[in-house]
């Protein structure tokens, strides 16, 4: 069994055990019966034609699991949903990635998938907002847009011959700065309608990537591209990135308030606690954890301690039981 990696005192262990047992009793009975390991045969009604999906194989007429996980049935399709595997991309997913390499006319990103993903130069909006063909000069200036180790938010475009392609054709995608990137296992993130969240009361942005990369950062106003297309059309030149010599005025402009930075750290720690405990990560749960820590006047670094983890587990058990009663 995967143990939760925490140093717990005896009483904390007992409380955590109780909270987890409560969660276990709340989980639907159907799901726990459907857990299956490798080479377990899946009970299936052979009279209805059955479609064998991911994680299944045919062994002498029996349907056998090739993965460890939970069996899901959708009409005639039977498949095994695995738990701790790498991200499985679907077209339209919002993902966050880190640039590994700047190649010819494209960037290679690491998105926690079995291969690296590509972001083509032509699949992104130009910094000046104009829609035009990418010239050789644009190719030379690629490094000014994104460099190695930059964090980028993009959308999955599809599978091409050479791998997975992403696109960043809107102002809300692109480089993310002033914030923290937290990696969790992808199965803790559910696909929902909204992945970009703005927590107004703290002034921070929260982007929950489907690949398990979660970004918590300072709030950035998203400008609508269509409105301003008359922006200065200066001649494109070969720009040399000069990261080291940032002028004093720019530094002052880029300064983030201490309060905002504290809120960013608090939200990031909330996500870390949820990932340690293995709970699903959604906006409501993150807000709940942040409120819990603020109501207790907890220091930010105490949030990663064992006491707070146990409290979060107990609160989650309460939340799920109250949800169940409502239904």
């Amino acid at each position: 069994m995967r143990e939760i990696q925490l140093q717990l005192s005896q009483t904390q262990k007992v409380r955590l055990q109780k909270a987890l047992e409560h969660l276990e009793s709340l989980s639907s009975k159907v799901n726990s019966d459907a857990s299956v390991t490798i080479a377990d045969s899946i009970p299936v009604n052979h009279e209805d034609g059955v479609l064998k999906g991911h994680g299944t194989a045919d062994l002498e007429g029996e349907v056998v699991a090739t993965l460890c996980g939970v069996v899901e049935r959708v009409n005639k399709l039977v498949y095994v949903r695995t738990l701790r595997s790498r991200y499985k991309p679907e077209v339209g997913d919002i993902v966050i990635g880190r640039v590994i390499e700047v190649a010819q006319k494209r960037w290679r990103l690491d998105i926690n998938y079995s291969q690296n993903a590509y972001l083509m130069l032509s699949a992104m909006n130009m910094p000046d907002g104009v829609q035009r063909r990418r010239t050789a000069l644009d190719e030379l200036n690629m490094r000014c847009i994104f460099e190695e180790a930059d964090v980028i938010c993009a959308e999955v475009r599809g599978f091409q011959q050479d791998g997975l392609h992403l696109q960043a054709r809107s102002q809300k995608y692109g480089k993310l700065s002033t914030g923290q990137l937290i990696t969790v296992t992808p199965y803790l993130v559910k696909r929902q309608k909204q992945h970009f969240h703005h927590l107004e009361q703290y002034g921070i942005d929260l982007i929950i990537g489907c690949n398990g990369f979660i970004w918590v950062g300072e709030h950035v106003e998203v400008r609508d591209d269509m409105v301003e297309d008359q922006v200065s059309q200066s001649d494109p030149q070969v720009l040399i990135p000069n990261k080291n010599s940032v002028s004093l005025e720019e530094q002052e402009k880029n300064y983030t308030a201490l309060e905002t930075r504290k809120h960013i750290c608090r939200a990031a720690n909330a996500v870390r606690v949820l990932s340690t405990l293995g709970f699903i990560i959604t906006l409501e749960i993150i807000k709940g954890v942040i409120d819990l820590s603020l109501s207790m006047n907890l220091d930010i670094h105490d949030m990663l301690g064992s006491e707070f983890c146990v409290l979060v587990a107990e609160k989650e058990a309460e939340r799920r039981s109250s949800n169940k009663k409502k239904r």
């Binding site: 990696q5 969660l23 390991t37 194989a57 738990l83 701790r84 291969q115 989650e316």
Partner: protein, 224 residues
């Protein structure tokens, strides 16, 4: 057979990991993958590349070992053996253009390290969510004083009798690994193979229980 114990999730950074103990032999396995191929020339367009590295920690045997400079021949051989055994059982064609690395390290050696490594590797693969045809389990058998002995430890192994390591796929009833040291009369081989198959099936049952428990726990913790 000695007492076995397994634990999943020892290495938090790895995609899958496990610790497997058979008696006093303790082995830790970590799986990274499927991920991007590091060496482009080795990339295969239709299947995944499996790399395995076996090593024994310096403190694993009675006297502290010193690693030979030229690369330990025994470690290279066992790495190759583990790689071939597990490659036969994972569905490599489902993950083309990627690479799976498995690192196995022996923390405490008391006979049967090869078998413990293969069992730990199976657990680690299952934890990482890599599709497999069946679990691979392995067990070692010896023959001393006209009795087949299951799961030899270091003392029994030093007695000089034959040491047969068998790796099987329990549900499919297929043998993926068969190695032997020393000499064994051929009429005894049948007996010895049967004993090892029973041992492997017992280990497979235990591994299955552990994996099922782990899957259930992860699922109910996650919630909906």
């Amino acid at each position: 057979m000695r007492q076995i114990r397994a634990e999943i999730g020892a290495v938090s950074k790895a995609d899958g990991s496990a610790i497997f103990e058979m008696g006093n032999t303790k082995v830790i396995a970590a799986v990274y993958g499927p991920r991007e191929v590091q060496n482009r020339s080795q990339q295969m367009s239709d299947q995944t590349l499996v790399r395995c590295e076996y090593s024994m920690a310096n403190f694993s045997t009675g006297d502290r070992m010193r690693k030979p400079k030229g690369g330990d021949r025994r470690s290279t051989e066992i790495s190759l053996v583990i790689r071939q055994t597990v490659e036969a059982c994972i569905l490599t064609h489902l993950m083309p253009r990627s690479q799976i690395d498995i690192y196995v390290q022996v923390l405490q050696a008391d006979g049967g390290t090869r078998s413990a490594c293969i069992n730990a590797a199976t657990l680690a693969f299952a934890d990482a969510g890599i599709p497999m045809r069946d679990l691979v389990t392995s067990c070692s058998v010896g023959y001393l004083h006209s009795t087949p002995l299951l799961d030899l430890n270091y003392v029994e192994h030093s007695a000089g009798g034959p040491d047969v390591t068998v790796g099987i796929l329990p549900k499919l009833d297929k043998v993926t690994l068969l190695q032997m040291d020393s000499k064994l009369p051929i009429d005894i081989l049948e007996n010895v193979m049967q004993l090892s198959t029973e041992g492997c099936k017992a280990i497979a049952n235990y591994i299955r229980e552990i994996l099922l428990e782990n899957a259930k726990q992860l699922e109910y913790r996650r919630g909906v």
